[in-house]
């Protein structure tokens, strides 16, 4: 297609507009990063945009390092990410594999039985009472079992498994392999990409989750994940280190540092894994 002069002008305008939009995406992150290295007194008096630290100090990071809650939370979150994602993956792989197989009679009914829960759920109160009734309230299991499968991820993985050629599955079957063996030895190894996708979805979900912990761990503060401690620091305005008077004047600073410390792991792996996430969204959009 030939380009006219108007085309170039329009392209230029669109490019400029999008660049501004992108700077808006990045700005909050830049602001928080700059603020976290600032001098606490200068930061308190600072108004408006911030592109580089005003003054320089590491006082905020020092206070964060000494904040026990945050590190307890860090440890707990790592546990929930590892254990939770492991349980998620085992359940989701098995479910997705069975649902992706053809030729068993109840496939349609069981698929409906599972998909229906995406549209109609019990809601927060019955879920809470169930967790309480099972006796896992205030225990780590409460953050792992009730969410063992995210139906959306299950459907994404099923789509991935369904694209494995039938011949790959039939051959070992003739050699006498059972479905369990075929799943782990044939289908899972050739579906590494889709498995990576939902593994990342689950892991990020655990890392960022806080609501279930707030509801299911009402009196188990030592089991709180990182996000709940963060909520105390950022939102409930709890004193970061109660009893210490000097803390108030670096309170603002500590918030920024806590954000950076808790978000850095996600931002570090982000560039390497973002293409998997994108893949996942596209797989989820394939309708059968």
């Amino acid at each position: 297609m030939k380009k006219t002069r108007t085309d170039y002008v329009i392209n230029f305008l669109i490019g400029t507009f999008l660049t501004i939009i992108c700077l808006l995406f990045l700005y909050p992150i830049v602001h928080v990063l700059a603020a976290s290295f600032s001098d606490p007194m200068q930061l308190m008096n600072h108004r408006g945009l911030l592109f580089k630290p005003t003054g320089f100090s590491l006082d905020g990071y020092e206070a964060v390092m000494q904040n026990k809650g945050l590190w307890t939370g860090y440890g707990n979150t790592i546990f929930y990410v590892l254990a939770g994602t492991f349980v998620n993956m085992v359940f989701t792989i098995v479910a997705a594999y069975v649902l992706s197989r053809k030729g068993w009679r109840l496939k349609k009914q069981i698929t409906f039985f599972i998909v229906f829960t995406m549209y109609f759920t019990g809601g927060i109160i019955p879920n809470f009472l169930l967790v309480k009734g099972l006796g896992i309230l205030n225990s780590r299991l409460a953050l792992i079992l009730p969410n063992a499968i995210a139906t959306w991820n299950l459907l994404v993985l099923r789509t991935g498994f369904a694209s494995v050629p039938e011949s790959l599955i039939e051959a070992p079957k003739i050699d006498g392999a059972n479905e369990w063996q075929i799943m782990w030895k044939v289908v899972v190894p050739v579906s590494k990409a889709s498995i990576a996708v939902i593994l990342l979805f689950y892991a990020v979900g655990h890392w960022n989750s806080w609501f279930n912990a707030m509801v299911y761990l009402p009196s188990a503060r030592d089991l709180y994940p990182l996000q709940l401690y963060l909520r105390e620091i950022l939102i409930s305005n709890a004193d970061v280190a109660a009893g210490d008077n000097t803390i108030n004047y670096i309170g603002e600073l500590v918030k920024y540092c806590a954000i950076i410390v808790s978000t850095v792991p996600i931002l570090c792996i982000y560039p390497f894994v973002q293409k998997y996430f994108v893949q996942g969204v596209m797989m989820g959009s394939i309708k059968e």
Partner: protein
């Protein structure tokens, strides 16, 4: 083939799916039926089986309380704002990105636009609270335009705009992925043909690009409509305060307060049930509507 023969032939598949079915029964279907406490005067000490029946009392209590109109109104207002402003935003971003000719530039912009999606809700709300506080960066900038320097989140009238705009910031890039994927599937010959027929840029957008997006837009809209009534309970709970309940308290946040904080389980379950039934109806309606008028549907 009889069911029994099928069980025998595919016994491995059935053994594998049994734990999954048990999981869904325990963690999805039991709570679904657990909503029956909405019709009871549920006492934890007596359990579901031992509690007295209350008929529609909990529903009547809710609808005759001053909270009912407030939370229903707020839920609808927030949802409509999200659909009117939040829904088209990623489509517009995708269309603009699609106009870029330099692929590297396009990819860079895309990658940056996804980042906010991965930032946790707690962190995002912490940043919002800081930015719109009385000495926050957004408040300061707005004060140049004549706004008062005050905590914007403590003002009822600003809650919905803050909620919707921050939501767009977080999800616009991520939401655009799906539309960009559809756009990359559009046959380039269609554009050439349209150009030869004398279609300008704007006409190509209207007659080639947009029609290609209609199916995916419909599907996304159905899912969106189905979730209208459950609009972001988590984010509301993080952002609101009693000062702004007037415009910020929604059905979901009310259920949380009534049920989890005040332990009026039956009342909260009744409100939650009302909510999920409406949601289900909306999904069915949207699906029917879409199938009828744009011939696209979820099922």
């Amino acid at each position: 083939m009889s069911l029994k023969a099928d069980f025998r032939r595919n016994s491995w598949l059935y053994w594998m799916i049994i734990p999954i079915v048990i999981y869904y029964v325990v963690f999805m279907y039991i709570p679904m039926f657990g909503q029956i406490i909405a019709f009871q005067d549920y006492r934890p000490s007596r359990g579901i089986l031992g509690s007295d029946w209350a008929g529609l009392e909990n529903f009547i209590d809710f609808f005759s309380s001053p909270f009912a109109t407030r939370v229903i109104k707020n839920t609808i207002i927030i949802a409509l704002n999200e659909i009117i402003f939040g829904f088209p935003a990623p489509i517009i971003l995708a269309l603009l990105l699609n106009e870029l000719t330099c692929q590297t530039y396009k990819r860079t912009l895309q990658t940056i636009s996804y980042i906010p999606h991965f930032i946790s809700l707690v962190v995002m709300c912490g940043i919002i609270i800081d930015f719109v506080s009385s000495d926050g960066v957004i408040t300061t900038i707005l004060s140049y335009f004549g706004f008062e320097e005050q905590n914007l989140l403590a003002q009822s009238k600003y809650f919905v705009p803050i909620y919707v705009i921050s939501g767009i910031w977080k999800e616009i890039g991520w939401g655009s992925i799906i539309y960009l994927a559809s756009l990359s599937g559009v046959d380039q010959n269609l554009y050439e043909a349209a150009a030869i027929d004398g279609a300008g840029r704007w006409q190509r957008l209207l007659h080639v690009t947009l029609p290609a997006l209609i199916p995916i837009i419909s599907i996304q809209l159905i899912m969106r409509v189905g979730n209208i009534m459950s609009a972001g309970a988590e984010k509301i709970i993080l952002l609101y305060s009693p000062a702004v309940y007037e415009s910020a308290d929604t059905i979901a946040s009310y259920v949380y307060r009534a049920g989890i904080q005040e332990q009026s389980y039956s009342l909260a379950a009744a409100v939650g049930m009302f909510n999920s039934v409406i949601n289900l109806c909306l999904v069915f309606f949207a699906n029917w509507f879409s199938r009828k008028f744009v011939e696209e549907s979820l099922w």
